[in-house]
């Protein structure tokens, strides 16, 4: 890793990271701040839940706990929105962090410095990892503060399982962004493919949960393996799937890294 490039890259991405962090913190604060109102509605929400089509509630991972405990409520939104938003940020950054140099024509400058391509790629991936951890950490901190303020009783073991699964899920999406960019043109706008990948994965899992006829669809979605929502107040940390996800993520990054070492650089 090259410390000069590392610092410059962090500086270059700070505005984007700050904006996405603010969006995630704002969204987390918003959803947690309205939980007390839902909680006060108690029986009315339970009635509303029972009036929803069963498939719809299953698809969104909602049950009675969604409205009666703050962690069940938070988990529903965490699975639907927060991981999607975070995944879009990190995967789109992953897709452009290396290719942006080629798209902007600065690759020639960077790659003619006395630094190996391997070191440049490792530095860029190091920056990506740092940005991911920063955004992830800020959102998690906001969630902890929000849960402490707005929740009376918080099941922290469910919270930890949810966030550990979320970490590996978003990590997988981030690596997918890097992988995608190593095989496609650097001039492509990656936002579309990235959003498609993340939303597609989410909806495949949602559909598979809604009806048993197509439950097999879930197997091709990472959401199936890294569950984010508590069922009846229970969510257990699955270390085996976390390990599996980290292996797949490492393979995607390794292939992208090797490809970058031998690729012709667009002028």
């Amino acid at each position: 890793m090259n410390s000069v490039i590392f610092k410059k890259e962090l500086k270059r991405n700070r505005k984007n990271t700050a904006i996405w962090s603010a969006i995630l913190v704002g969204f987390t604060a918003l959803i947690l701040s309205i939980f007390p109102s839902f909680s006060e509605m108690g029986e009315e929400m339970a009635k509303l839940m029972s009036s929803l089509p069963e498939e719809y509630a299953k698809a969104l991972g909602m049950d009675e706990e969604t409205w009666s405990s703050i962690i069940g409520y938070y988990g529903t939104y965490y699975g639907i929105y927060i991981t999607l938003l975070m995944g879009i940020f990190t995967a789109s950054t992953g897709a452009t962090i290396i290719g942006k140099e080629e798209r902007d024509g600065t690759a020639e400058f960077l790659l003619t410095r006395p630094i190996s391509r391997g070191s440049i790629a490792a530095t860029k991936l190091g920056v990506l990892g740092t940005l991911f951890v920063i955004v992830y950490g800020i959102q998690m901190l906001a969630a902890v503060i929000g849960l402490l303020i707005f929740g009376e009783e918080v099941n922290w073991s469910v919270f930890i399982a949810m966030h550990v699964h979320g970490f590996f899920l978003v990590g997988f999406f981030t690596a997918s962004g890097v992988f995608m960019s190593s095989f496609l043109s650097p001039k492509l706008n990656y936002m579309g493919p990235v959003v498609g990948l993340i939303f597609g994965s989410y909806f495949l899992n949602a559909i598979s949960m809604a009806t048993e006829k197509v439950s097999w669809l879930g197997y091709i979605s990472p959401y199936h393996y890294l569950n984010l929502t508590a069922k009846n107040g229970v969510l257990e940390l699955n270390l085996i799937t976390c390990f599996g996800a980290s292996v797949v993520t490492a393979i995607l990054l390794w292939i992208s890294f090797k490809r970058y070492l031998s690729r012709d650089i667009v002028g």
Binding site: I5, E108, R113, R263
Partner: protein, 291 residues
Amino acid sequence: MSAIELSSLSKFYGNQRGIDGVSFAVKKGEIFGFIGPNGAGKSTTIRTLMGLLAATSGKATIMGMDTSVEGARIREKIGYLPSEVDYYSDMSSRELLLYHAAIYKVGDAAHKIQELATYFQLELDRPIDDLSYGNKKKCAIIQSVLHDPEVLILDEPTGGLDPLMQNRFFELLERLNKKGVTIFFSSHVLSEIQRMCDRAAIIRAGKITAVEDITTLLSKQMKTVRLVTNSVNNMVLPEGALNHHQSGQKHTFDYVGPTQDLIVWLNSQAIIDVTLSEPDLESIFMNYYQS
């Protein structure tokens, strides 16, 4: 040991030819020209040499080190000036040059940058995006020499520079060369190669067609002669004249041969006006090989 050596270096993009079996050697301390028309393969050769493109076959060494193996070590000793200058748009020239200096660990960089910027009349604190092409080129020149390289690789270095800056740039190159810096100078402008270089390689359609001393190159060089005479009569052309066209008193022809003989012949004509110019490179090459 040569400063730069290319042995049968080829680069193909699928079936498309980039360069094909390029071989030549640049001696240490030499100013070596690399000339060819646009699309001949000059930039492909240089980009392969710099490790931006992977060679399909063949080998290139700089200071005895294989470019495909020891790229990072080689680049410590190289100053590179690309033909197209694209820098980080969110930086000023000063920031970019300090960034470059930090990577190369250049001592007293701020002072050196200021000195070179004054020499080339470059405003350092304007955002790079606001600079004209010529000013971006000045910034590129400064970054190519800032870290005291042993070998300078210049790809079409004068594009965008006005004649005054071109002169300053050439003077800087001459000073660096006197200090022992090897210069590889790629251009499609023959007069630049004539002025700066000791020897030159000529590339055409991806292949090296000759490596010549500049004096040999000059002796075979073609000129385009445009004359206005004081009569419409046919004239007897000098030996070595080609492609003659006449329109009233105006004559145009290409000339290949000793310049002295042409001057003697011009003196014997009743001429109102005369212009000697370089024909386009393709014509030069066609003639060069026919002769």
